[in-house]
């Protein structure tokens, strides 16, 4: 025990007595919003230590979490990765369903706006196995009233024609197939000529004389002369025009998304169908003009001319 010099004893006693009375005061004094003074002093005195302690514990916890607890982190990461993959798959499925719902809604809307036209919706269930042909298989057949040479369309435009019919399924030859095609005409000039496939994603409009004025971006619609497609169904857009002798070389971008068909419409008759597209409305002949049922020219125009 440390001995206190006698001359300092009274000073030590004074300090002790004063501190004791200060504490006594602090216990009694109550500040307006901060509680008793002793509590304020205690909190103020402890604050630096508490803060240092919190910082120290935080550092220790950080070291433990970031360096020593990696085993659990790895397991957690693995679980999260699996969950992430699962969620991605779910999102993909939901997006696919949403897109399908949009397509079906478009088909339904199309059917509702053309109630007088006999048609049947169909789902694409298969496509041609090789590049040699461009065909699709749909889930509608003879039992549904589908027959050969019926037009197949989407709300965007012409798709092709039915070439084979089975009990519950049918095969459709796309416009882009080398043997596919349709009677067509330019919307602005009403110049007619068959549009046929080339085996590539684009099509070609043939037999348009060199002197005809054809511009890039011009719309092309069905002419109805092939007795397969009604008039004024969008076929595509002129994407390139080259001079030729005696006919121009015109490349056409299909209006329908032929490379990603999932649902289509089979027209059960050649009743005229109104398309509310700019192409149909801008032509001098008008899209709303009904097609005559007595079209008897170019009977095989749907196939390669």
């Amino acid at each position: 025990m440390v001995a206190i010099p006698s001359k300092h004893k009274s000073l030590t006693l004074l300090a002790g007595v004063l501190i004791a009375q200060l504490l006594l005061l602090a216990v009694q004094i109550k500040r307006d919003s901060r509680g008793r003074l002793i509590r304020v002093w205690a909190v103020s005195a402890a604050y630096p230590f508490e803060r240092s302690g919190a910082w120290g514990f935080g550092q220790i916890r950080g070291v433990w979490t970031h360096y020593f607890a990696l085993q659990s982190t790895e397991r957690e990461n693995e679980a999260l990765r699996i969950e992430n993959d699962s969620l991605k798959l779910t999102i993909s499925q939901l997006e696919s369903k949403a897109a399908e719902a949009d397509r079906l809604a478009a088909l339904l809307n199309f059917k509702q706006t053309h109630e007088k036209v006999p048609m049947v919706g169909a789902r694409v269930i298969a496509a041609s196995a090789g590049m040699a042909s461009r065909t699709i298989e749909i889930d509608r057949g003879e039992q549904d009233g589908v027959r050969r040479n019926m037009a197949v369309i989407t709300p965007d435009g012409a798709v092709g024609k039915v070439i084979e019919v089975y009990g519950k399924t049918s095969q459709v030859l796309l416009l882009t197939d080398k043997d596919g095609g349709a009677g067509a005409m330019l919307v602005d000039t009403r110049t007619q000529g068959p549009v046929g496939g080339t085996g590539e994603p684009t099509m070609q409009m043939k037999y348009v004389a060199t002197e005809e004025n054809v511009t890039v971006g011009e719309k092309i619609v069905t002419s109805g002369m092939d007795k397969i497609f009604p008039r004024d169904i969008p076929i595509g857009t002129v994407m390139e025009v080259k001079p030729g002798n005696p006919f121009k070389q015109i490349r056409v971008r299909p209006a329908a998304k032929l490379d990603r068909l999932e649902t289509v419409i089979v027209l059960l008759s050649q009743e005229p169908v109104e398309f509310k597209s700019e192409a149909a409305q801008s032509g001098p002949g008008g899209a709303t003009s009904p097609a005559p049922n007595t079209q008897n020219t170019a009977p095989a125009a749907a196939e390669k001319p």
Binding site: S10, L11, L14, V17, L18, L24, Q28, I29, R31
Partner: protein, 177 residues
């Protein structure tokens, strides 16, 4: 130790006084009772601080800092207790502890028997006591109050004058050496 004795500090000879048994307790108790009751009937008497005068007197006479500060603490705490709930315990206790210590320390070094010296010392201790009270009030109680004013100066003078006379009476309670 019933006898008075001399305290030698260098070349000076300071006498340490003893009192009759119970004299310190009796005087302190009377001072406290007077301080608590007299202003009720005579409000002007609130200017006096008899417990402070008792603390100063016994501090100067006993000349032992430890005894002086403990006596000051006891008298101060008793005054706090008698001052009602608005005065926290320790308010006067701190002030009188400091005065008890200072009075004992100074009494051990200086001759405080002369009336003029006593007047000056009482006046000074009153001011220091008020300063400690004001400091306590401002810092701990958060009650802004003037450090010193004319009223306090008058109170210091009145207490010094009364104390000087009172100390002559209290001297009679000392035991003869």
């Amino acid at each position: 130790m019933n006898e008075a004795y001399e305290l030698r500090t260098g070349e000076t000879h300071i006498e340490v006084h003893k009192f009759y048994p119970g004299a310190v307790v009796l005087v302190a108790a009377l001072a406290l009772v007077f301080q608590a009751t007299a202003p009720v009937y005579f409000p002007r008497l609130s200017i006096l601080d008899l417990p402070l005068l008792a603390t100063i007197y016994f501090g100067l006479s006993r000349r032992n800092p430890s005894t002086g500060l403990l006596l000051g603490m006891v008298i101060g705490l008793a005054q706090d207790a008698l001052s009602g709930p608005t005065v926290p315990l320790g308010f006067y206790g701190i002030g009188k502890t400091v005065i008890g210590y200072l009075a004992s320390s100074i009494g051990a070094r200086l001759d405080t028997e002369h009336p003029a010296a006593r007047f000056a010392l009482i006046f000074s201790f009153f001011v220091v006591h008020q300063a400690v009270l004001m400091l306590t009030r401002r810092v701990l109680l958060a009650q802004p109050e003037a450090w010193f004013n004319v009223h306090l100066a008058i109170a210091a003078g009145v207490n010094a004058l009364l104390g000087t006379m009172l100390f002559l009476v209290l001297d009679r309670l000392r035991r003869n050496s």
